[in-house]
């Protein structure tokens, strides 16, 4: 049987730290309605599939959670759309600074 992830793979797990009813008093209503969730990466202890409850080895601990990704990638970027207003700012300031000199 083949698994999504092998023992020793670099993976990310997910865990609910506090359920909505366990959250503390001094937070806004919209935050109180949702759980406190956690993600962490480490080396997988045993072969497993995505969605399984697994254990991973981290800096000094063994942490349990749901396997969500193998070899997790970084997906943020310089933005999903270009912001032309920024070029305009450059033109505005350069026109003023270079104005009298040119």
């Amino acid at each position: 049987m083949s698994f999504d992830a092998k023992k020793g793979d670099w993976v990310q797990i997910h865990r609910i730290v506090l359920k909505p009813e366990e959250r503390t008093g001094k937070i806004p209503e919209e935050t109180k309605k949702v759980p406190l969730e956690m993600w962490v990466k480490g080396r997988l202890k045993e072969d497993a599939n995505i969605g399984h409850t697994v254990e991973i080895f981290t800096a000094k601990r063994t942490i349990k959670g749901e396997l969500v990704e193998v070899n997790p990638v970084y997906t943020y970027s310089f933005g999903e759309e270009f912001v032309p207003e920024l070029n305009k700012v450059g033109e505005i300031v350069k026109n003023i600074v270079r104005g009298d000199d040119n």
Binding site: P28, T31, V40, A59, G79, K88, G90, V93, K94
Partner: protein, 473 residues
């Protein structure tokens, strides 16, 4: 027997966990009804300023260049009355190993951790401090765990925080990512207790002592390059450690006439613990959502008594708008050829506004830059804002409403100084201190403490106490 790791049980062991993880018995410094001996706590680090500088040089921290921003100064003078437009200098702190001034703080905390025999460090931070601790831990061969508030309940993360996660992990640290909420402290305490690592708190006396070298270098470099001390040093303010350490360093260098101004991005109206507001802001730190609460109640961090006490040292507090900072960030890139991150550009924006009111022969120093890149760059931030329903447009900065729009000024002359009412901050500080002490009677030494804490005088403090119905025994 297994340890009870429920929320209430862990929070109940808070004091013990923090003491084991800092080796500081904070109770030793308590005095009177609400005071504590701040200077003794700082002295007990055992570090002189020269020790700090030596330790930092060993790990490549500090001694960063002070650069004159000639084209930005020229821009200021073109839009100001004749004779106005102070010279603007910037301390290029991105030259530190992990790319920000936070290496100064981390270098001292990690040095202490190693010296005391800890095998690793834990820090709760979503900012540059995480990368700084990770970097210093790598240099000193110990482990590092960063606990980060990162996502909203849709698992959407602010690009700037995602960049910091990546950087920490790429420097070899473990990053615990959490959704929004102050219960992050619970995971942080558990990490400390389960690993027996050191609490590399942003607010420990070690960290703040580490920033003193920054203020000291500014004074020395200004004397060397310009032949005098700066009139104003502008500091981006969030938790208050940057301003506190810099001001203490300036004083130690003898630059006692230099004014220290704080600057924050105005995010009024947004709740910092809100799952909805979390991704409606384009700045993750250096904003009023941290700045104001920490100025008026410094002791609500991950240590019982914070060594960051900005109200003691702050002469003025300047507010800038999100759109103004993006404008100045772009101006810095296109006029000075320097791409830098948002934290330093917050103080640069406030300095730009203030320089317009100052004379041409005066000097204003922006005391930090930070590295930038994907996630931190205005392109990423403004694109993310648009995706989250925030309107981005040119207009009048005064009409910017945090969480609704980001307004880029149509012309740099629209970037003006906004002073926060310092007495209002002082008033709130005293009110919070008295409320937390839960008393209607304080001692004479408490009065003296409050005067120092608020950089005010006995008459002012007595006036506020009277209003609150508190007497001095």
């Amino acid at each position: 027997m297994a340890r009870d790791n429920s929320y209430d049980a862990v929070m109940g062991r808070k004091d013990e966990i923090i003491e084991n993880a800092t080796r500081i018995n904070y109770e030793d410094y308590e005095a009177g009804k609400l005071s504590f001996d701040y200077e003794r706590m700082m002295k007990d680090t055992g570090f002189s300023l020269q020790d700090v500088i030596r330790i930092q040089r060993d790990v490549g921290v500090g001694n960063t260049p002070l650069l004159e921003l000639r084209n930005l100064t020229k821009l200021v003078r073109k839009i100001s009355p004749k004779g106005k437009g102070a010279r603007i200098f910037v301390k290029d702190e991105q030259c530190n190993p992990s790319g920000s001034f936070k290496d100064r703080r981390a270098s001292m905390s990690v040095y202490m951790a190693k010296k005391l025999g800890y095998k690793g460090v834990v820090a709760a931070t979503s900012g540059n401090y995480g990368a700084a601790v990770a970097s210093q831990a790598a240099i000193r061969n110990i482990d590092c765990i960063i606990v980060q508030e990162c996502y909203d309940s849709r698992k959407v993360g602010q690009p700037e925080i995602l960049e910091k996660q990546r950087k920490c992990e790429c420097l070899g640290a473990e990053v615990i990512q959490l959704t929004v909420g102050p219960e992050l402290f619970y995971e942080f305490l558990k990490a400390l207790e389960e690993t027996n690592f050191f609490n590399a708190s942003l607010y420990s006396p070690y960290g703040i002592a580490g920033v003193e070298s920054l203020g000291y270098e500014i004074a020395m470099q200004c004397r060397d390059m310009i032949g005098k001390e700066p009139e104003v040093v502008m500091v981006t303010n969030a938790g208050g450690g940057n301003l506190t350490g810099t001001a203490r360093g300036l004083i130690k260098a003898g630059a006692v006439d230099t004014k220290v101004y704080g600057a924050s991005v105005d995010l009024s109206g947004l709740h910092m613990a809100s799952d909805i507001d979390f991704n409606r802001k384009a700045f993750t730190t250096g904003h009023t959502g941290f700045g104001v609460p920490y100025l008026t109640d410094p002791d609500h961090s991950d240590v019982p008594r914070s060594a960051a006490r900005a109200l003691r040292y702050m002469d003025q507090y300047q507010l800038v708008k999100q759109g103004e900072v993006f404008f100045i960030t772009e101006a810095l890139a296109e006029l000075e050829g320097m791409e830098r991150g948002p934290a330093g550009n917050t103080s640069l924006t406030a300095a730009f506004a203030l320089a317009r009111e100052m004379d041409e022969d005066q000097i204003i120093v922006v005391q930090e830059t930070e590295y930038t890149g994907a996630g931190k760059h205005p392109l990423a931030q403004l694109s993310f804002a648009r995706q989250n329903g925030i309107e981005v447009k040119f207009g009048n900065s005064e009409e910017e409403v945090p969480g609704k729009n980001i307004i880029l000024p149509e012309h740099p002359s629209m970037i003006k100084s906004r002073h926060f009412d310092m007495d209002k901050l002082r008033h709130s500080y005293i009110k919070n201190a008295v409320r937390k002490a839960n008393t209607k009677e304080i001692e004479k030494l408490d009065l003296e403490f409050l005067v120092k804490e608020t950089k005010s005088n006995a008459e002012f403090v007595e006036g506020v106490l009277k209003e609150l119905g508190v007497t001095v025994k």
